[in-house]
């Protein structure tokens, strides 16, 4: 049995027939080939799969694709607008906030949401807010720097 799900992903309405148990992250990765959203665990701890659903950061492994029916989803692939990197993407590169790159898409998507809610976050706020995103490479030092710089750049 399959069900029909329509989600607007990065501005493009996408309709697919999927198994009802299909997670949003599987819908993105396997049905739309948007493989920038990663899967790093099975318990919604690591945050590698964070995307924006109707503007809010959501772990795409925690919801079914069917639950996102009709929603607007932004993935890492849709963050850069008009071929120009998002300020948070720029900040991650500038501050060497990534090494292997696997946690990076989820980390950036979380950071953008964080900065939208806290335009001028303290280091403590950034560290607390990033609790749901695991990185094994960087020790977070440069991620924290990048998120603060990215938030500043987003303020303009």
């Amino acid at each position: 049995m399959t069900i029909s799900v329509t989600i607007t992903v990065n501005g493009q309405p996408e309709t697919r027939d999927v198994e009802p148990r299909t997670l949003l992250v599987q819908f993105l990765r396997e049905h739309l080939q948007l493989t920038g959203t990663h899967v790093g665990c099975d318990t919604s701890q690591c945050g590698a799969c964070v995307v924006h659903v109707d503007g809010k950061s959501v772990k795409a492994c925690t919801i079914l694709a069917a639950q996102a029916q009709g929603a607007k989803v932004t993935t890492i692939e849709g963050l850069a607008a008009d071929g120009k990197l998002h300020p948070m993407q720029e900040a991650f590169r500038e501050h060497h906030a990534l090494q292997c790159g696997f946690c990076t898409p989820g980390m950036i998507m979380s950071a953008v949401d964080l900065a939208q809610r806290n335009p001028n976050p303290s280091e403590e706020t950034v560290r607390h807010e990033l609790e749901g995103n695991l990185c094994r490479c960087t020790g977070y030092h440069n991620i924290v720097k990048a998120v603060m710089a990215g938030a500043q750049a987003m303020r303009g």
Binding site: D42, T43, Q45, F92, E123, R127, L130, C135, R136, C137
Partner: protein, 790 residues
């Protein structure tokens, strides 16, 4: 050009694809007609397999095949191998019991492979795997080394009596005993180095693929060393010719050692793909990763340090029991031996050292190299006992270290445990670290913390490590089954851009940038015109891969050699173009010139001429490319000092890291930004080990109790401080770049520094890692009870 070469914090070339979600990790790759593998794994730590019923599973929708160990055996597939043979005290080779890619008669740890389902979708494969029925005769497991060595303990393998893999020793026993006989003071310590799960954020993944028309097998796999995987699969597991097997390790999301090894799952994918003539894909979920990725550490150690009345170290003896897990993983045997005991001199002039190591089989996941591999364990023993000795002797721990440092003028320095340290300035690093951490002001900070009811502690760690593994002849004589050189190839294109092929593999280290900087610096090619290629055995010359902080020291040196060959050939072409003698041609940063004249030719023109050789030396081959292999003359020995400062809440037992200083000597630094990033990440893993992480098995059932991120505490952003990183540069004298290696330093230094700070705050050595709030609180309570009783 000046801001792109060696010594510059060039922003990484590889980042664009990662920050835009366009990396290509193995699980992002899908092949036409691909099938999915899902493993049925043992729920028991130790059991005899009485029967397996796969009938129901075979009838499930989408199922193409269900295989058990007996199906694998029919095809005479070899077991997984250990590539380093350690000889025990009697000269006998270690015990390496057979490790089948799917278990046949026994399962020996929770998660051992019992069967595999191959189906058209992952969901269907998983559903069918649940329908497999296995009848087990459950046996009593043993999970820890102390119990496993006791008489009458359950035996994990019939061909490893007493669970002993080897009983090995190293160093001069008699000289060490003599040193202890004349000692004025002996400090003793018992330590547990907790078992860790490496947990790169990308779970392992593999695709096996077979093309009957060309008899070509392709393996996509999350590997740190694709050629080593090809070698093992071809020469030991399948008996296939290497030219018919291509291994591709594309973007790999972290490794930390755990992706060095040849694993059962990738091997099963290859076997099944060849059998079914369809691509077969497997991707680990996180619980499978906890159950099957090789773990790290897991040592139980007793150590004793003999000193004279002034605290001068006279002798050091160490007795370690190392857990190997259920099977001997690819390089497991080398970790608690040659990567451990050879580093027990630390930064000190201790003249006599003796180590005994028993490696032990248990019903747990195999243990192998994890970031640092043996060197963190050695540093932890040395630096904990040195700190404890200082406290017993009432000598400042910094001063006791200083009294025993190998002095600057003693290099090259022969230790009593085989290593020849190449270069270093140990006292300078200590001085710098003490200054940066305001060590002198600590007493005042401790007093201020006490007023707030907080226990404040400071701890040092002066670590040494051996990187750049390794001179092939040396490791060969110690039992390694491979050489440990590295390869490089520089290929110019006609229009001046360059491919750099390296046998190293980048899985976060930034080789695409660092290696390009070297080539840019040496050959004068703009960074954007250089493409570093790695991770594909069909594209890159045979190489040994990345681990042990070797890539720059060994792989980078190979690139330098290749660049020298390009320059040598370029001089011949330049001499022809400028109508000069080759001996009169000078070269500097991409420009060939005739000495004493203003005639010059840039590298780009040389490249074009080499491929469009209309006006060209008669006796010279066209083309501009060069291959080089580099086998290091020695290990190289980065060293440094880390200072940790903590505040402990005595009501809750929560330890807060309030200050962290690292002063490292990595020799010449190519990209300081990348090197600092490596230090940060290493420290975080070391802090994780000391404060948060630990693999826990239930001692009775052998169940893994920490099999998800819910139960295994990974360091998160708000568990960690920002770090102050300083560097000193004492170039390595024996490689062309003068570089040493930086990837593991933080993980090596951090646990001892942090535990020394915690034991300083608590006033007792008796606490093991991880110093969780519960563990710390218990120590504080027992001290309070003891104080109340007095």
């Amino acid at each position: 050009m000046t801001n792109q070469g060696i010594g510059q914090s060039v922003r990484r070339k590889e980042d664009f694809r990662f920050i835009t979600g366009q990396g290509h990790y193995t699980d992002d790759i899908n092949r036409p007609g691909q099938l999915y593998a899902y493993f049925h794994r043992s729920p028991h730590a130790f059991a005899k397999i009485k029967s397996i019923n796969t009938d129901a599973a075979r009838k499930m929708p989408g199922v193409v095949a269900v295989y058990t160990g007996k199906d694998v055996a029919v095809d005479k597939v070899g077991g997984l191998i250990c590539g380093w043979t350690v000889k025990d005290k009697k000269g006998e080779p270690h015990k390496a019991p057979r490790h089948d890619i799917i278990a046949i008669d026994h399962v020996r740890h929770v998660g051992d492979q019992v069967a595999v389902v191959i189906a058209r979708s992952l969901g269907e494969a998983r559903d069918a795997a649940e329908a497999i029925e296995v009848d087990y005769d459950v046996l009593t497991p043993v999970v820890d080394v102390v119990t496993a060595l006791q008489p009458g303990a359950p035996e994990v393998h019939a061909d490893a009596p007493g669970n002993l893999c080897y009983d090995w020793d190293f160093g001069d026993k008699a000289a060490t005993e003599a040193a202890f006989a004349k000692a004025a003071h002996v400090t003793k310590i018992d330590l547990v180095n907790n078992r860790l799960s490496p947990n790169p954020m990308e779970p392992r993944s593999a695709i096996g693929e077979y093309e009957p028309g060309t008899d070509q097998t392709t393996v996509y796999t999350t590997s740190q060393n694709p050629h080593v995987i090809r070698l093992i699969l071809c020469a030991f597991v399948f008996g296939l010719p290497e030219h018919k097997v291509r291994v591709i390790a594309p973007d790999v999301g972290g490794g930390f050692g755990s992706k060095i090894f040849n694993y059962a799952e990738e091997t099963v994918c290859v076997w099944a793909a060849r059998k079914l003539k369809k691509p077969v894909k497997w991707t680990s979920d996180r619980t499978e990763a906890f159950l099957t990725d090789a773990h790290g550490r897991d040592h139980v150690t007793h150590a004793e340090l003999a000193m004279d009345k002034d605290g001068k170290f006279l002798g050091f003896r160490v007795e370690t029991k190392a857990n190997m897990g259920a099977y001997l993983s690819t390089f497991a045997s080398a970790v608690p031996t040659y990567l451990y005991a050879l580093l027990l001199a630390g930064q000190y002039t201790t003249p006599a050292i003796y180590a005994e190591v028993k490696a032990v089989f248990t019903n747990t996941t195999p243990v192998d190299a994890y970031r640092g591999a043996g060197r963190p364990e050695a540093t932890y023993v040395v630096e904990r006992i040195v700190e404890a000795a200082a406290r017993e002797l009432k000598i400042d721990p910094a001063e006791l270290r200083r009294r025993n440092f190998v002095p600057d003028d003693a290099f090259p320095y022969q230790t009593p445990v085989a290593c020849v340290y190449d270069s270093g300035q140990y006292a300078k690093a200590l001085d710098e670290a003490l200054k940066m951490s305001d060590y002198a002001g600590f007493k005042q900070r401790k007093a201020e913390a006490a007023k707030k009811g907080k226990l404040r502690g400071i701890g040092l760690c002066a670590y040494i490590e051996a990187c750049g593994i390794a001179p092939s002849a040396v490791v060969g004589s110690l039992g390694a089954g491979v050489g440990l050189w590295e390869s490089a190839q520089i290929r110019f294109n006609a229009t001046g851009s360059v491919f750099v092929h390296t046998g190293s593999h980048s899985h976060g280290q930034g080789h695409e940038t660092t290696f390009a900087q070297i080539v840019s610096d040496r050959l004068g090619v703009p960074l954007e015109s250089i493409e570093v290629v790695h991770g594909d055995t069909a594209l890159v010359p045979m190489g040994m891969g990345t681990y042990g902080s070797r890539s720059l020291a060994v792989g980078g040196s190979a690139i330098m050699r290749a660049a020298d060959k390009i320059i040598d050939k370029g001089k011949k072409i330049a001499a022809h173009l400028m109508e000069a003698s080759v001996d009169d041609v000078a070269y500097d940063k991409g420009v060939f010139s005739v000495k004493g004249t203003d005639k010059q030719v840039p590298m780009a023109q040389i490249a074009f001429t080499a491929y469009v050789p209309h006006n060209y030396p008669a006796d010279l081959e066209p083309g501009l490319e060069a291959s080089a292999f580099y086998d290091p003359a020695n290990f190289t020995f980065p060293a440094g000092v880390h200072v940790a400062e903590v505040e402990i809440d005595s009501d809750t037992g929560v330890t807060r890291v309030v200050n962290w200083v690292a002063v490292d000597d990595f020799g010449k630094v190519v990209n300081p930004m990348i090197v600092e990033g490596q230090v940060h990440g290493g420290i975080a893993q070391g802090v994780g080990q000391a404060l948060l992480e630990g693999v826990v098995y239930d001692p009775k059932s052998g169940q893994l109790l920490t099999a998800s991120f819910n139960d295994y505490c990974m360091p998160r952003a708000d568990d960690l401080p920002s770090y102050k990183v300083g560097m000193i540069e004492t170039p390595c004298p024996h490689n062309p770049l003068g570089v040493k290696g930086c990837g593991e330093a933080g993980a090596i230094a951090a646990p001892a520094a942090l535990m020394n700070a915690i034991t300083d705050a608590l006033g007792t050595e008796k606490i093991n890692m991880p110093a969780t709030p519960q563990n710390v609180w218990r120590v504080i309570q027992s001290q309070n009870l003891a104080a109340a009783a007095e």
